[in-house]
Chain length 192, copies 2
Amino acid sequence: MRLIEAFERLPGIGPKTAQRLTFYLLHNPQSELDKFSEALKNLKRDTKECEICFNVAESSPCSICLDRERDQTKICVVEQALDILAIERGGFYQGLYHVLGGSISPLNNVGPEELKIRELIDRLKTGRVKELILATNPNMEGEATAMYIAKQANRFPEIKITRIGRGLPIGADLEYADEATLNRAFEGRREM
Amino acid sequence: MRLIEAFERLPGIGPKTAQRLTFYLLHNPQSELDKFSEALKNLKRDTKECEICFNVAESSPCSICLDRERDQTKICVVEQALDILAIERGGFYQGLYHVLGGSISPLNNVGPEELKIRELIDRLKTGRVKELILATNPNMEGEATAMYIAKQANRFPEIKITRIGRGLPIGADLEYADEATLNRAFEGRREM
């Protein structure tokens, strides 16, 4: 069936899951299928890229950039919009964001110009920002990107540049941690 | 976003997967989204219940019932259409099917009349069937349903009634098998 094939094309969905989802939907009312179908068709139409932070949202500027309650002195730099959702789930961060659209990766021909770094620097020029939190992924590309941005942002001496902590994830087992993570965890140790 | 919510309503898809799928689709061409959307909207319209075996298919009778190459002397009885897909994946069975639409379950008010058992008996009356393979699930309801059907089909002495084997799944670890499965595996032991 065509729907099974459509589901199978999604990442992480194998043939069995695709069948299970399709048969599940078969027992849903047509009105539910229509709603799902409309949401799919209008996905791109209903989705904007925020002109300020490049977050994926229903409006531009996005609701986070427009929220006056949020701390306008902090910008958290992430690689992609999905990362914002992950951080927002935590509810511990009340500042703004900036989506780079990837990370510097010479192997994939992605240089700094391909990312929204110039736009980030422009935001820093307003003088409102007091802290720039670099939350790119803790892998080679993410670290290189963080390093590049830190260097660029150094010309604003009033802005504190921070990098998210790296170490053992909460709930992890030391026994199974990889060397690089353990190394970082030791480097990042704090006095108790 | 509405699409995230639609995905979240599917079984086995949590909020994080729903977000991941939505952001993945955002980078798909609109034509792909339209195809997916159409398949969803037309799911029920494009899906028929086979008038012979009650399989879910694109036509009625279904392609299996219409396939003259298949062994017309065997009927495999399953609880639901998804079970047919699982068996067909194996490619070891070349006979016909019969979908009951569930199993006898007094707790859920499902009696034999709610299932396609009368229709199965009607198919047996044609005299073409030589073996009836009862492939209902190996749980209490499935066993009760198999037993009930076996009793009903007993009046056709020319039909061999068989039940799928129960025991340890291939690749399983004896150490972790539950008692009931181990018990069945011992009962079902064969001479080597």
